[in-house]
Symmetry: C2
Subunit: 326 residues, 2 copies
């Protein structure tokens, strides 16, 4: 009923002909919060341009920056597939058509939520083009569905921060329960992406199905400490808490120079350092932009010396999520 009402409220005569949206990259896990925490960064991110067409259907007009790795078939590409799902949900797939340009400003398979950024940009764009019939909360399940298409798992720890901005907690999945956490003012992230291949599926398969209860207790003490630290803007507590005793020891194996990079970051004053999502990107959390810059530059230089190409980004926590550009 509710949906029918919203569909009836859609006024196609007032709808814009095009829109351009940026959605941010995200750092899932936030070092100690495997599968439950994540935050958005100002850079990098992905861009989606969307054009209204008179002919119904969802088409991919072009994809830039993916080195030809992403499918142009609208049923296989997660952005177009999610947009189509949303139009079907609203029951307007025969009344409305769009063409999509996807401009990837970030590497695929980097552990920075590349597919999430694209999916969120696409869904935010179509929802805006339609006059925002759905709230962000209502868009979230479509974003999660996009993750399932892209990675085989319907995780929300990238799409939630990409969509809502800031730091998000996925309390649980049944039903999906996302909590926005406070963002301390001076929190910065220095991200380095070493150009090595770590497919998300492999990174997940490495992780053991059983863990020592003792280690789990250490981990959830740290998670609880991090949440308290965010509410208190207590950077010392954040630093003491952002430690991963469970996942990092396994995943770090896949990342060249991980412990050397960690040592450099901590020596330069990082609050914490760890793996972004399933890697291979790594992240230094700092309470100062200049420290994050020093860290990423030093790590990049180190990787170059070891003949490993890399990209690096320094950014505050992005608190807005996707935004209309131009």
């Amino acid at each position: 009923m509710e949906l029918q009402k919203r569909k009836n409220q859609l006024d196609f005569s007032k709808i814009e002909n095009e829109i351009r949206v940026f959605a941010p990259a995200t750092v899932a896990n936030m070092i100690c919060g495997f599968d439950i925490l994540g935050f958005a960064v100002d850079a990098p991110g992905d861009e989606v341009a969307m054009y209204r067409t008179t002919e119904p259907g969802v088409r991919i007009r072009s994809i830039q920056g993916d080195d030809g790795r992403l499918p142009l078939d609208p049923d296989k590409n997660t952005v177009s597939a999610c947009v189509k799902m949303l139009l079907q949900h609203l029951g307007i797939e025969n009344e409305f058509g769009v063409e999509i340009e996807l401009i990837k400003h970030m590497p695929i398979g980097s552990g920075l939520g590349s597919s999430s950024a694209s999916t969120v940009a696409g869904l935010f764009a179509i929802n805006n083009l339609l006059g925002n019939p759905l709230s962000k909360e209502e868009l979230l399940p479509f974003c999660v569905e996009g993750e399932r298409l892209a990675c085989g798992h319907g995780h929300a720890d990238n799409v939630a921060p990409a969509l809502f901005g800031g730091i998000t907690l996925i309390r649980g999945y049944e039903p999906l329960d996302v909590i926005k956490l406070p963002v301390p003012n001076d929190l910065y992230a220095g991200v380095v992406f070493p150009k090595v291949d770590v497919p998300t599926r492999d990174a997940r398969q490495l992780i053991k199905g059983k863990v020592a209860l003792k280690d789990a207790v250490t981990q959830w003490g740290n998670i609880a400490g991090l949440i308290a630290g965010l509410y208190e803007s207590d950077y010392d507590l954040i630093s003491r808490s952002m430690k991963d005793v469970l996942i990092e020891p396994t995943r770090a194996i896949l990342i060249p120079e991980f412990y050397e990079m960690k040592q450099m970051a901590m020596d330069l004053g990082a609050l914490s350092f760890g793996i972004s999502g399933s890697g291979p990107s790594v992240v230094a959390i700092t309470k100062d932009e200049s420290i994050a810059k020093q860290i990423t530059e030093k790590i990049s230089a180190h990787l170059t010396a070891k003949e490993i190409e890399s990209l690096h980004y320094v950014s505050a926590v992005n608190t807005v999520g996707p935004k209309i550009i131009n």
Copy 2:
């Protein structure tokens, strides 16, 4: 050096001759936070009266309410042993003597932090009698040592809330890192102690050393949700988060009528219901005192019908910890 200075500052001529202290019972784990969370309640609790003597040494004058179960030997009784440790730490064990009366107002082996309440009362009493040479933070390690003597484990999830009051998080043990969490105004606890024997050691041994990572993720999502809920005074979030998928299924086996009691509590509007510490006491968390009363009365009547004796208590979260009485 610091200690010597404090010792020199002690002015024995100004010290009171006696003191009487109450310290609160505590609910460790707070349902979802095994080994890291705990809170203090206004009732029940233990009482320690302490008398200065000219003759050095620490003696137990009497113990009431323990049915003869606690040792009178000052080296074996945890209260006197901890008091002695503190006097030795200050280097004044040959200059100062005390006699202790311990009045137990709460059952031993109930899962309500009985030994913690006594130890905290004793250490708070001696520190006050001496003019407070140590801060509460400095008293904590002595309290933890008391737990080690009493239970064989140096856990802090009972002594920390008993000493500091309120809701405490033990972020980690190396070093001991205790965080005081906010206490929402309307949070009440209805505690029922079914008089059955569940020794802490047995309750711990039942728990498996390894847990499924999937369950650990569920648990730490809930723990993170609870911390956020406490900061936000969001009772719905607190309720959704206070679930224990890891420990309760095992420990509940030892508690008669556990699931029947849980059903009654949830039917009457509890935010959550679970085991207090290692049990057999159970606790209903409510946002209203009258709901907590209804729950404890209904559960007690049910246990009586099943020929199980019980005690019950309703209380707000105690936010002060130990206090001087009379």
